[in-house]
Symmetry: C2
Subunit: 416 residues, 2 copies
């Protein structure tokens, strides 16, 4: 049985341990929800004050030039690119994941309309994050010329779907609910072999494990900066386009920021060269600027070490749950194999909602997802082995004592 002292020893030897000091974490909390909202980088408070008080308050409109606001999407994109295996000039931090996925799918379909006009099907999986499915179905309906979204009921169904000659496959690299991981390079190769393009949603993997979009020869990708990249609540998302597509895809949400000559204010859209064509309108600068604080930390972390620690934290969590909670009706939803899981672990329990609330009341913050899932996010930059030990200790006590049976833990709040 692993002891708390064993965990202390592992923390003392952890090469990533110093990163924890770069974040502010609430006292008395084990935060296992960084897969949903990353913790606050210490530097973000001063940066927010700088943007609000100096850049906005004092320099006002001049800050578009002097503070580099206009350059932020491309500059932050270049800072993010190494985390996803992107070359300079291929990545933007802009808009929401929803908006970027819409643009990426529309671009992919427009590329296919040129080279394989008969292909009009988008393939995704039924268990994908709902917005991804809504965006794909909505786009298919908008296009409405035989366009259609088809959903895989399981990963095994991908080859059969590819055999039908789809235009585009869009998948989440790590599943938001189950934590299951697709093999990005393998799937990309299979999709290409079938004549389709792939659009990856990296929301639940970027910053948590090494990603090499260029090496995998992927087509387009989107993702989120407020989970493992610690960009702040709802911070702007990113869009990556392989250079071979940067000059060809239609921007379905064209705006003046994406024009070849934005300040000429011409009535007809002429896309900028490269990924910049996917810029649309004026961005929420305060939220956007704060993304840099998280990226600055991520740039100094070795992603292979981050991944190794993530898996070690996960193994510890699962071992301790088996050792200490084995009598309870818990089921591991996440694949246990290292190469099939991301950086959060999902356990099913018949009273999952109430158990999560009881854990939160005891300072262990995970979250709940329908219908019976408890998610525990493992964020190697600010989580210690001893935190995992403490979390399972509380979980075991909550389950053994049936503390979760209290009526107050069953009341549903708006957001879970």
């Amino acid at each position: 049985m692993t002891s708390r002292e064993d965990c202390d020893r592992r923390d003392a030897q952890d090469a990533l341990a110093a990163f924890r000091d770069e974040f502010v974490l609430p006292e008395g909390v084990v935060y296992l929800d960084g897969n949903s909202l990353g913790a606050r980088p210490r530097a973000a408070a001063a940066r927010a004050a700088q943007v609000v008080e100096e850049e906005w308050g004092q320099d006002l409109i001049g800050s578009w030039n002097t503070a580099g606001w206009w350059e932020l999407p491309g500059r932050l994109g270049d800072r993010l690119a190494p985390l996803i295996g992107g070359a300079p000039g291929t990545t933007l931090v802009t808009d929401t994941t929803t908006g970027n996925l819409f643009k990426a799918l529309a671009a992919a379909l427009s590329i296919q309309a040129e080279r394989a006009p008969g292909r009009r099907v988008i393939v995704s999986e039924r268990d994908n994050f709902p917005t991804d499915l809504y965006v794909a179905a909505g786009l298919a309906e908008l296009l409405g010329r035989g366009h259609e979204l088809r959903l895989l009921d399981s990963p095994d169904a991908l080859d059969a779907a590819l055999a039908d000659g789809p235009a585009v496959v869009t998948l989440s690299h790590v599943n938001y609910r189950t934590g299951a991981l697709w093999d990005l390079a393998d799937v990309t190769a299979r999709v290409h072999a079938a004549g389709a393009l792939v659009v990856w949603d990296l929301a639940h993997s970027v910053g948590a494990l090494p990603i090499d979009l260029t090496g995998a020869d992927a087509d387009l990708a989107v993702g989120c900066t407020y989970k493992y990249l610690n960009g702040g609540p709802g911070s702007p998302a990113f869009l990556w386009v392989h250079p071979r597509h940067a000059g060809s895809g239609t921007s379905a949400l064209p705006g003046w920021w994406g024009h070849a000559r934005p300040f000429a204010m011409e009535p007809t859209f002429e896309p900028a060269t490269g990924v910049a064509r996917f810029l649309a309108g004026t961005q929420p600068v305060v939220s956007l600027a704060l993304v840099e604080c998280g990226l600055e930390i991520a740039a100094r972390a070795d992603l292979a070490a981050v991944r190794a620690k993530s898996l070690a934290l996960g193994d510890l969590f699962l071992d301790l749950v088996e050792q200490r909670c084995g009598d309870h009706p818990l089921r591991l939803v996440t694949p246990r194999e290292h190469d099939r899981r991301g950086s959060h672990l999902t356990l099913a329990h018949p009273d999952a909602y109430a158990v999560v609330q009881a854990l939160i009341a005891r300072g262990v913050v995970g979250d709940y997802r329908e219908p019976d899932c408890m998610r525990f996010g493992l964020t190697p930059l600010y989580l210690r082995f001893v935190d995992v030990w403490d979390a399972v200790d509380v979980l075991a006590d909550v389950l053994d004592s049936r503390a979760y049976a209290e009526p107050r833990f069953r009341e549903r709040s708006t957001v879970t």
Copy 2:
């Protein structure tokens, strides 16, 4: 000739004068660019610190409930609604103006597809803000079933365009470049009489003059919170939908926030009732929360008084320019009549770019727009009559002395 002392006296009698203290303005600057980026409300610094340090830093994921992040788009929408004559539950603060215009136009076209399927033309004006045209043309191309954007070359051409039976008319209430104002109620009535729907872009009018969308019986509207509403750089935009359309328009950018049961995470989109269906994905919370500081000030200002002061400031500006700069090749681009202009004034000059740079160097901040336009925004909540006097005093000196002829004022920067 109006003297500076006359202006001092008018300021002393100005019922809106106290609002200036609610903003932070840089020393030694006359800021005439609030039509592009509004000044910072004093309260915004503390609010930013609260959101970043407490809500994000300490309460983390819990803030979606405890700090009301989830409710922000609707709650801020309800705060904004009185400024545009909207009822509670009709307005959202969310996404960018680009994204909202896309959603509004797609919804309007989908409504027309039901009731007048032959109508597939969007009408706008060539001089509209470019993004509005790009979005409309992009949507028409995406739909691609005879859909088309037709542009008016002058306001007089509207009736002829209406006679051709368009589906939707989209116009900016106040033109970004010229400051010209459409009669919102009159145009809405004419559009409706021709069987079309109207989508208003209120970016350059909201907060600067009274607007009554419900009284005018308009269909949909979008606009910006970072100009006269002082929400912060690039702060999220708004979307208003008349209640008669709230249950019928397609959301072309569907996301989980707009689902009838967002936390059920269902694979098929079922729109929420009312305007909430037009929510898409997770919003940039820090930028979004700051919008409230500006709205809180606007809620206390009488918009009729704001409009009266805006026109008075404008009349003073134009009178002084005529009196003091009459020998220079200046041309008023904005209509002079009160009922035909918004809250910024545009003067053309052959050396407009350099003149604007010379003015900025002297602390008078306006901006330049192609091909020869100088824009001067009049923001009654923090601008004094004496500021207008000082601005024209500097303008006269810059023109008389030909200070703008210095080479440094001719170098183009990225953003102007």
